[in-house]
Symmetry: none
Subunit: 413 residues, 2 copies
Amino acid sequence: MKVQIITVGDEILIGQVVDTNSAWMGQQLNLQGIQVDKIVTVSDTHDAITKGVDQGFAEADIILMTGGLGPTKDDITKKALADYFGVDMYFDESTYNRIQRLFQKLGKEPLHAHKEQCYMPTNANILMNKMGTAPGMWFEKEGKVLVSMPGIPYEMKYLMSEEVLPRLKKQFPGTPIAHRTILTTGEGESKLAVRINDFVEALPHNIKMAYLPNIAQVRLRMSGTGDDEKVLNNLLDQKVEELKPLISEFIFGYENTKLEEAVGQLLKEKGKTLCTAESCTGGYIAHKITSISGASSYFMGSIVAYDNAVKMNQLQVQSSTLEQHGAVSEETVIEMVKGALNLLKTDLAVSISGIAGPTGGTPQKPVGTIWIAVGDKNNIKTYKLNLWKDRMKNIEYSTTVALNMIRKFLLEL
Amino acid sequence: MKVQIITVGDEILIGQVVDTNSAWMGQQLNLQGIQVDKIVTVSDTHDAITKGVDQGFAEADIILMTGGLGPTKDDITKKALADYFGVDMYFDESTYNRIQRLFQKLGKEPLHAHKEQCYMPTNANILMNKMGTAPGMWFEKEGKVLVSMPGIPYEMKYLMSEEVLPRLKKQFPGTPIAHRTILTTGEGESKLAVRINDFVEALPHNIKMAYLPNIAQVRLRMSGTGDDEKVLNNLLDQKVEELKPLISEFIFGYENTKLEEAVGQLLKEKGKTLCTAESCTGGYIAHKITSISGASSYFMGSIVAYDNAVKMNQLQVQSSTLEQHGAVSEETVIEMVKGALNLLKTDLAVSISGIAGPTGGTPQKPVGTIWIAVGDKNNIKTYKLNLWKDRMKNIEYSTTVALNMIRKFLLEL
């Protein structure tokens, strides 16, 4: 069974709006074992819509459309669909009554444009939209299905959850599909691939492995299909267990966990507090940590020592250290950790100093040279990065590495 | 001229990744007067890719593809394209040399998988990708163009900006189009629209105004078309001059200037230094300021006082103030500014304390209550925000407001 999503709207084609609807629909369908085969975005013209639907029916069994049902005149999906199916429109009293009640509640009167929204193709099954004025529509044609929904995300989500998914599941009971995502950091995509090559080669034919790289992180996703959902899930769980020992030192979590969340969780488990002393990242590590709700239980604060005066006055970095080794050096980040521990009275501190770029590099210390230290009162570990990308990438990359160093330090406590 | 974007990747079809690449590409093409006709996402299988390309060439003059060029074996775009064009693959020495040099810099060895990345279809023009290992590829077929780029956003953006857009502009010169973007903050879209309504109504037919709202910012973009590029540019410049006095207090810059860049520029012009004292934003204001290269000439550092102990010990906020008025209060942010000025010895300081959410709210101080103060040794200005429930939005919104308060404070010096 093939499913195609068709999104209607010039605002997506010109990039004014990012199409998050399709991603959400893809996720929800997947959870029900329905795989999306193709996503298409077309312009909101009569011609583009009918051509898109025609192509969609040639390729897929189910077409899920969003967009182009609003009360303004650039929304013409409904008329295009009626023409495509060769049917007339009728005025749907029940929809109009619902819209009238909605407006009464708000103490307002429906506009002429809302009356227009009540004209429906005669072959449409109306899907009641409790979240807005435009109903969804369910069409059938030679055993295939087309569903048209509004593009407003919460209206589409309501219709998908309450109407479309239950009907699809009933009408097209498909092969179950399931996924497991393993989150890693500390090793690149290629080297991970080498490490787990034998494992991937030996995967049964119904399980596929995908590598999803991001800045300093790689997600490994195993997707499986099988007739028996329980057997499939057991198989995937077993494969995750087999994969784990091959790359255990790089795994920081599963599914949608963020690295900063995993670090926070570990800090809570170990009952430790943390602070940061940041130069080149300018507060970005602290920002990442505090982007997690509840961080106040383990994160005390940060000294952003952008200027050397702050490194010396607040973090007690020795001027001789800065003179002899420079601000971007192992010696400096070690003193920054010590100073931060002393000042902010936390169990752990992480420090960072480097040349984020694009200026400030020297032959000895080119742009992308970044020193990181993590430690407590007993032990300090350091790491040197040699990056090459742009300023923001260097900040993001080194922040991820710093978070991972905190994670590893905590694991050894 | 018709342009189609084809995105390759199961991760998009199952909704694990939102396709932001297409939106960005749509925007950039639009700015050059090139309209995207259709966006298609296909599975990363040989069959889906070749079918997608075949359909794309039947419908469009230019196909821009992203994804499926990584070193792991689920990335098969390149092989599919070679087969589609009916050509062989060859080993591209220059690409391999570049990858080797990249790895040398990192003190690492390229892997076998990276060698695989150097095999190219014989009809491909190689587009050098300075941001990663996989090069872009430019193909031509009967006057039509297909470009294949990696799916990693910053690699795609680099290739689009540096290689693809300039080549497209040269090969497909359309009707001249030009834009002027006026950047505002401090007033919402609807109220700005009322202010400039008469101006917009009176715009000549070849100039269109678009409102592009973002978190606490609205960009106003005038787009004009005309056969004579010089006349068009003069007309747009004139319209900008007419628009300015209508909304001058909200304009912080033009085109791609960031608010934090405008603030940095003003600090340099006025010869002033800045620091931040942050609670609820957890270092995000400092991060924004230091995301601008050269910030070290005016930004000294930050105290992220997430815990009240840091507010008291480092920033000298009185315990009586915290007891009587709470950490989220006008009195506390004023003391935070004073403490930061005193500690970090800057001309100006900005402080912020609030409830970012989703937890921590009370009936008196609900989630989204945020106090900000900006000042120097003579004068401190404060502002209270009442925002919403979403943690990250609250952090971003209040950071923008804080940056704008610094800007306005500097303008009055």
